[in-house]
Symmetry: C2
Subunit: 361 residues, 2 copies
Amino acid sequence: MEIAELGEFGLIRHLTDTIEIQNAETRKGVGDDCAVLEYPAGRQILVTTDLLMEGVHFDLQYTPMKHLGYKSAMVNLSDIYAMNGRPRQMTVSLAVSKRFQVEDLEQFYEGLRLACEQHHCDIVGGDTTSSLTGLAISITCIGDVEKGKAVYRNGARDTDLICVTGDLGAAYMGLQLLEREKSVYNAQIQEARQRGQDLSSLPPFQPDFSGREYLLERQLKPEARKDIIDELNKADIIPTAMMDISDGLSSELHHICTQSNVGCRIYEERIPLDYQTAVMAEELNMNVTTCALNGGEDYELLFTVPLTMHDRVSAIPGVKVIGHITKAELGLQLVCRDGTEMELKAQGWNPLKSEKAKSDE
Amino acid sequence: MEIAELGEFGLIRHLTDTIEIQNAETRKGVGDDCAVLEYPAGRQILVTTDLLMEGVHFDLQYTPMKHLGYKSAMVNLSDIYAMNGRPRQMTVSLAVSKRFQVEDLEQFYEGLRLACEQHHCDIVGGDTTSSLTGLAISITCIGDVEKGKAVYRNGARDTDLICVTGDLGAAYMGLQLLEREKSVYNAQIQEARQRGQDLSSLPPFQPDFSGREYLLERQLKPEARKDIIDELNKADIIPTAMMDISDGLSSELHHICTQSNVGCRIYEERIPLDYQTAVMAEELNMNVTTCALNGGEDYELLFTVPLTMHDRVSAIPGVKVIGHITKAELGLQLVCRDGTEMELKAQGWNPLKSEKAKSDE
């Protein structure tokens, strides 16, 4: 169905009509000038926002709309958990070009709603409009946290333990895999065109993803670590600093160390890696540690806790201690497998930085 | 300066470094995974968001970046006032293509900050990223209102008075004027090109805006009606329904009547118009009432109050009673200057609706 048939308000109604409000804090959702929220006394409110652009943040050639909706929600939910908070509400704005159909947006919303239901987050509003080229997605997520329990980036102290959840680098390897198969596919199409062959006569393209399902899942369907926040809460641990790993471990450690005015020392051998990540890096002739440090899009949590909490934090499944905080003057150090030390550089994904500026660093 | 020289975090620091927090409710602004807000007990929180796309919502050929920043803020502030609330915080996301320089974004932020300072609103975060083509702007504004005092669209009752602020149609006339001068300019350039003339030898283009300054201002520099909310508050008036006029009076009356399950009757002769709007409409051979009803981008307030408040509401400068609410079965009626009645159609600006779908209505 053409989006133009419904118009803006028709489309919004169509996509949001059946949304059920899950949180008592949501007093009014979609349908007025503003959403209206009411939080009980003693809560602080968290706000995070992301703007995702087609061709920069996602490639629709290999990203199904449903996965895109799911991931767009997850990257924002992840920021709320990274403050030790709980997501409650979300606004969703989309700008779509003429090549999108109502069914595409239904798929997007299906993914979005799946993510929101899992995380008890209400979709309370947004904006749906047109764009001249491509798809733009802007999501704002609102959450809450008990007063005094928000965890910032600036609280890490000398001797604190540095912890990460899950494993790193897999989402980046998933991206490499998808990009590789896309190149193979596009090359086949181009060859067929050059031969003057009818494209519909080509055998269906079979991308080679066997044994790499985990990498694809990490790239296309990341999961915000609500479970870890639950576990930390159960274990009565409030991290001294925390953030989510979206641009790469190395870049995030720089943020925490700069804002906390400390240094750090992490151990290469302790960086959690999945077997598939290592195999794929080997195949692509890439250093797997570099991928884990700078790959990005892991949406795992990076946090610090006092040294005395070593046993309690180590007992949480999926949490790994990878090093410790040091005095600022010791800088950011990576202790390699062979015992040598090197300075950690922040080379994470940066959509606005030129290759030149990166290499100058 | 090239944006790539600064990179994402450098650019954000550059643009937000000198922002001063104005509200006690803002506990943490730019610089962490989330902004952190804390509202006193008894307040409800308002959230509104807008996504503006180059070529759809604005034309940089005649919109200075500073004005664009100012207007982007205003359209969101206006939504907060339309709930009878006060703006407190704003997040600002930008996606920019390579043709933008740091100076362009500085100008945008200058306009944004001017608007935010006037309305005591803190810029608390956002996202700055790249786009393949054009500029995308996503703003989310957060405000608050005393519990029980939020004004929705669904509270209008039979016999309530319908009020509008300021005057209508001028922003739309301003747009027509800018588009006309743009066409003249582009035609001159094209002719010179066809003659093979050096473009730099052309005399500077002088758009003809004399005596039309008000129309330009209404299009390029709209003002959210904080003053009216202050006056209503002073006069102890809480409207029964309210919204801001962004898509056109006619479209907004449809929203209020549908959500309140009522009809309305407004009088053509009472619709507030500026002299320049009337002159420009005449010149363009357009019906000025149609422009006022369907033009959009006025960012004035439309609200209803009980009949008993007639004298109090009429005493507020800039507020005009244009009609009254009726029973739903009487529909939405416009009483023309000659006494005839016609049905009000919602033909406001709709970025997603095809011309065909509009004419089918």
